[in-house]
């Protein structure tokens, strides 16, 4: 096992080192990513300057939703965000080279890069989460901590699965990055909002097919005992791992389907 992981570790360490070797550029990237996160956070603050409540959640509560969703997404972006470079890999022949190595193609794709500058985004998400927790009246206990950890982990898995799903679909959609980005980044944006304000179509897409509602909104509602989730049982937030599992199944199917198409096996 350790020997099998050595291949991935060696690639990742070299990627990290090469990024760190361009210090100025790396620092600028880091700051840039941080600023993007801050601007997105400011967007929410602007919304709440006009109203006290959106979808049954107050600013402090939404801050918590944003924190969980953004932290989970940033971590997924750090690990798998470069999956959207698949069309570039296909054109440059890098993907064919993956076939010549004794590791699964997807594992090679995911570990082919590590965008350390996205750590900047993680910091924004983590800060929002910390502030959100401080501002809200959370009934602390083993359950609350467990739910929070479960939410961030499930969110991470859901968003990582989204990146892989998008990559699988890229095999068919030659210039489909715009389309898949709409789901990946639209999903991220949706996840930072209270799901109760979504129109029905979005609820179907991001509540079931790409279950980002389970990444932050539902677990946080459960955590806060918020009245937001109308008609939905309070324990739904605990189902985040189920949603994550579903996202993984969808991602695996899309990836296999796409790879079969690439190799010309039909499908």
């Amino acid at each position: 096992m350790a020997d099998r992981l050595r291949a991935y570790r060696t690639v990742l360490v070299s990627r990290a080192r090469s990024q760190a070797s361009y210090r100025t550029s790396f620092r600028l990237d880091l700051v840039g990513a941080l600023l993007v996160g801050v601007i997105e956070l400011a967007e929410i603050w602007v919304l709440y300057s006009a109203t006290d409540e959106i979808g049954g959640l107050a600013l402090a509560q939404v801050l918590l939703v944003f924190g969980v969703a953004d932290l989970a997404f940033s971590l997924a972006d750090l690990v798998a965000g470069h999956c959207d470079k698949l069309p570039v890999y296909v054109r440059a022949g890098t993907l064919d080279v993956f076939f010549l190595r004794p590791q699964p193609i997807l594992a090679q794709l995911v570990t082919s890069d590590l965008s350390l500058r996205r750590i900047g985004r993680c910091l924004v998400g983590a800060t929002a989460l910390a502030v959100g927790l401080a501002l809200n009246d959370v009934a602390w206990g083993l359950g609350a901590v467990g739910l929070l950890v479960l939410a961030v982990l499930s969110g991470f898995v859901i968003f990582t699965a989204q990146f892989v799903t998008a990559a699988g679909l890229q095999f068919f959609l030659v210039n489909g990055a715009e389309m898949t980005n709409a789901f990946v980044y639209g999903g991220r944006y949706a996840a930072t909002q209270p799901a109760t304000v979504w129109p029905r179509a979005l609820l179907v897409v991001f509540g079931t097919i790409f279950p980002v509602a389970f990444a932050a909104y539902l677990p946080v509602s459960t955590l806060l005992g918020a009245p937001g989730a109308v008609g939905l049982p309070a324990w739904l937030g605990w189902c985040a791992p189920v949603a994550a599992l579903w996202a993984v199944v969808v991602a695996a199917a899309c990836w296999r389907w796409g790879l079969r198409h690439y190799r010309g096996a039909g499908g």
Partner: protein, 325 residues
């Protein structure tokens, strides 16, 4: 390591059809392009095979099916005894591939690091990695640019590095797709010498596609010519030369303009330029050598410079195509 006996490549009725989408708005049916058409191919362990054909004849498609990148539309294929699709990962441990047009090195890292990453990917032990890297660096004379980022290497240096990368895990079969394209004479020579030595020492089986007759002549004892996905010729280079009458041309620069050298034994006068200052003689490398022709010319005129023009592989292939249709 390669199997000492048995076939390294076995393909039967190998076929690959590409279907293209019809243009939008037209009522045309999907276009069908047969890239590889019922190809039967057997390569024994230790053989060196040149796989030649015009652009689009199906060479790269064949190679992609042999190593598990593409799925055959029909037919069967076994590479080093393995099923390229179902056993791709096991196959990757035993085959090395160099695609002239796509790199398997890390562009932004010093070359040395590419080798150590590949060693990790193939699970080489630290001692093995050191020994094998040192061996390849020595044989391919890469010591002077081991610390240079790959993107700064010259084409000749990079190709040597690509070949070393493909051989790091000691594969029994080495597949080279256009390995000498764009290389200068010296780099080509060095690469060929290395490949010959590699075969001699490790018994590595070679399959290479090329547009360079020199590659085939110096590396391969067997030639396959493919045309429209079908095998048009399978035999020795001598047999190929006999079939199409491939001749080399000796270009001679004489000290003084002279009459046409029409009476040189074993060579035919092609044409003269600059009043006979430069003369071109064609000869059959199967019957005589450049040295013999040169010696005969030296008796008749003073030679100040010379060069040898290889038969163009495209011409050879065209001749084969003409003969088999």
């Amino acid at each position: 390591m390669s199997d000492v006996h048995g076939n390294v490549i076995e393909a039967e009725g190998l076929t690959r059809v590409f279907t293209g989408r019809p243009e939008r708005g037209t009522r045309l049916r999907r276009t069908r392009h047969v890239a590889v058409d019922h190809l039967d191919l057997t390569v024994a362990a230790g053989e060196a095979v040149g796989y030649i054909g015009a652009n689009g004849a199906g060479k790269s498609t064949t190679i992609k099916m042999l190593v598990g990148i593409l799925v055959p539309t029909s037919g069967t294929v076994r590479t080093v005894g393995l099923h390229p699709l179902k056993e791709r990962r096991a196959l990757a441990r035993r085959v090395g591939v160099v695609f002239g047009q796509r790199s398997q090195l890390w562009w932004d890292l010093p070359l040395r690091e590419s080798f150590s990453i590949l060693a990790a990917i193939h699970g080489l032990s630290a001692a093995d990695e050191r020994a094998r890297t040192a061996e390849l660096v020595g044989m391919l004379e890469m010591g002077s640019f081991l610390g240079t980022p790959v993107r700064q290497l010259s084409l000749g240096q990079r190709m040597r590095a690509e070949v070393a990368a493909a051989l790091l895990h000691r594969p029994g079969l080495l597949v080279l797709d256009e390995p000498t394209i764009g290389l200068d004479v010296l780099s080509k020579q060095r690469l060929r010498e290395f490949l010959v030595a590699q075969r001699r020492e490790h018994g590595t089986t070679l399959l290479l596609t090329t547009h360079d007759m020199g590659d085939v002549e110096r590396l391969c004892e067997r030639v396959l010519v493919v045309d429209h996905g079908r095998l048009a010729f399978d035999g020795t280079l001598a047999g190929l030369a006999r079939t199409v009458g491939a001749r080399r041309e000796l270009v001679l620069d004489l000290a003084t303009p002279g009459p046409d050298l029409t009476d040189v034994p074993g060579a035919e006068h092609v044409r003269s330029e600059s009043d006979g200052l430069r003369q071109r003689l064609a000869f059959d490398p199967q019957r005589t050598t450049a040295a013999w022709v040169l010696a005969a010319v030296a008796e008749r005129a003073e030679v100040v410079d010379l060069s040898i023009v290889e038969p163009d592989i495209e011409d050879v292939v065209r001749e084969i195509y003409r003969a088999t249709r």
